[in-house]
Amino acid sequence: MTGTIMQPGVKALWDDVESRVAAGDRFAGLFATRPTEVAGSVGVAGSAGVAGVAGSAPITLSAHLATAGGIDTLEAALPPGAESYPALTPRLGAAFWYEREIHDTFGVVPEGHPRLAPLVRPCSPETPGDRALPRHVTGYGMFTIPHGPVRSGVLESIEYLVETPGEAIPHLNMRVFYKHRGVQDAFAGMTPADAVLLAERTEGIASVAHALAFSHAIEQIAGCEPPMTAQLVRVLHAELERIANHLDVAVRLADAAGLAVATARLALHKERVMRLVSRLCGSRFGRGVVVPGGITAAPLLPPAQLRAELDQLAKPIAADAAALMATSSFLDRLRGTGPLTPERARQHGALGPIGKAAWPADDARLARPYDAYRALAVPSARSHRAGDALARLRVRWEEVDQSFRLLRQVADDLAERAPDPYSVTCQPASGRAVGWSEAPQGEVLYDVRLEAGHITRCHPRSASFHNLVLMHEVFAGDILTDFPFIEASFGLSVAGVTL
């Protein structure tokens, strides 16, 4: 259901993107590719007509748009040797971080971009100017608190630059590049069988969703479909991952509010979910299950036992969630905190629980169903518009409830099915495809190009990358002590942002 449309130039590309977003498509990402010489041939399909040495080869810009049934890719090649192009960001704000990433990676300048500071690549020690604190708001008593990258608590490395007169936060900046690992480059040259392992480690807390999105791309190239049992097991792990992630967010929120018992209870539930995952596959993060073409092995628990375990988990989680949502001192901290307006959410195409709390954001499981979601009755979500931390938590609890309903269907279906093979052969030689899945954080996209059975370029786009930039905009009237709530309510992983 995906299509690639080549445009004659960057301006035509932006015109097309803008008109399609105005017509209701959702902007889902903007990537750049520069073909490199791989073993004597031009490594990247799609630009194969333009041979050249790496460095002077023209860059291709690919914009991804989510439509009713798939992901459309619109592309344009920059003229050979071009060092700049007119930026998309002034016309479409959602491209803000994407164009900074392109600038970081390829050095090509998006002309007219409002702020080209380093985003995903660390500042080099040779350019200390980049390390200066940005100051956007000036005035009497204004100061900037650099917070990070090593912060209090067991957290991923990120630096928040909080501009404040003391309590209010008129401006926030983020430096996310500290833990850039070079994941995209590491994909190049791998076989799909190895690359799926790296996909699992691209955003470790959403291992299953990333492995799925990657595998879907490979399966699209190969034109194969995993057996039904494999599809069900994929849903099983994806939904357990969702529950664990949503519980993790709830733990952090309860912890921020100082609710010791609620924190402990929710952490206990999360641990039990992770133990169930490890008893199903050996890994607490569902790693090593999903491979292109299917799954590696049958779940280690029989479906009947799985069903019983699910029932044992679901009830106490629902009860503690209800108790948490009836604790007024907790709700007071979340209500109206970190609001994202429906207009901004729509403009940005906000994903996952952050998006669903503010606008009718689509869910890949419903809008572009994959694997067993096509056969299962995926419960549709209630609509929210408040966009605050409370609405985000409500969305998560509803999703946990949905996940358990899906999981019961999966367990029942697995019990009824005669075991079929766990995977089909899936070893495509060459091609390009965009795969997707719905991670707990929102939609994950993988733009994968293969040549001679090896990956030439793989661009993962996590929901964390797409959504984190919105943290700039949600501090309406919020103060420093609201910060932990807002950060926790976003529920994103920095690993998925910087890659």
């Binding site: 990258p149 090593v150 850039h180 690992r181 480690r201 470790g204 018992v261 206990l268 641990e271």
Partner: protein
């Protein structure tokens, strides 16, 4: 608020008593891959030793190449004599080798099994290299000297140097009711100034080199560094990346190497206890862990 009082009592005590008492989940934990004893399958070994013609036809070089090629991170080496070794510090637990050659490779069992909480980098190579034993004893003696000052309470600080995010979850689980690290007298601290132990996760992202080093330098002596996870030990799948240092040892001196992708919370507790000398580990690494009641005395766990 009173609802939470009752809810808190609902499940009774859920906290593990490990390591004072055995814990099924810790003992059945699936650790990194290892070669099965009598590594090369008996058929192949027999072919190599007794029947030169068969050995020639099934070129041993090909077999060792295929075995080594099973591992995406290069953890497998086949020595000339046919000895297969796995560097658990590179193993990301993908299971490729165990699935393809169950006659040669198996999972190691238990969160404290071989390869868990190694005192030298080489100790992670199984079966161990001949010179490992003395090196481990020397490392243990050096560590004991430094940690003698640490008494009952130990404070630790965590730094993420390019993790995938999963190691943070497992470290955080230590604060939950199941693992409850406080029962062992171990606490997290926000300031490196209070920290005795530094837990480092991640492949050693270049952007974190300076912050990691600054945190380490900010800690008072004596200090202990634990590399948490295969990424922190060797970089894992990102060991060749220009943007990482292929593990954190390039930036800070590592005392304890804890393999796993990610390691289990039990593995992290075990590493901590080994680090501060609260756990007597017999020279037989598969022996069950037990708490010391050494000269510093007292019960270390309730």
């Amino acid at each position: 608020m009173s609802i939470w009082v009752l809810r808190g009592l609902r499940d009774g005590v859920v906290t593990t008593r490990w390591p004072a008492r055995p814990d099924d989940y810790a003992d059945t934990w699936r650790g990194p891959a290892r070669p099965v004893p009598a590594a090369l399958s008996s058929d192949a070994a027999a072919a190599l030793s007794s029947d030169p013609a068969a050995a020639l036809s099934s070129d041993p070089g090909t077999d060792s190449d295929t075995l080594e090629a099973l591992c995406p991170t290069g953890a497998i080496t086949v020595e000339r004599g046919g000895n297969v070794r796995v560097d658990q510090g590179r193993c990301i637990l993908c299971g490729h080798c165990v699935a393809e050659r169950p006659d040669v490779f198996a999972w190691s069992q238990g969160a404290t099994g071989p390869g868990a909480a190694a005192l030298t980098r080489d100790q992670l190579i199984v079966p161990e290299l001949p010179e490992t034993d003395e090196a481990v004893e020397a490392a243990r003696a050096r560590l004991r000297e430094r940690t003698a000052a640490l008494r009952r309470s130990v404070h630790m600080r965590h730094v993420d140097a390019g993790s995938d995010g999963s190691e943070e979850w497992e470290i955080q689980a230590l604060l939950g009711p199941v693992y409850d690290i406080h029962r062992l007298g171990v606490f997290f601290t926000a300031s490196p100034r209070h920290a005795d132990v530094l837990l480092v996760t991640g492949a050693g992202a270049r952007g974190m080199t300076v912050p990691l080093r600054t945190t380490y330098d900010g800690m008072p002596d004596p200090k202990i560094v634990i590399a948490v996870g295969t990424d922190a030990i060797s970089g894992g799948l990102l060991s060749q990346s220009d943007m990482t240092t292929g593990g954190i040892a390039a930036t800070v001196p590592v005392d304890i190497w804890l393999a796993g992708s990610p390691p289990s919370p039990f593995g992290i507790i075990n590493a901590l206890l080994v680090a501060v000398g609260k756990l007597a580990r017999d020279t037989n690494p598969s022996a069950p862990a037990r708490l010391t009641t050494g000269p510093r005395g007292g019960r270390r766990s309730r």
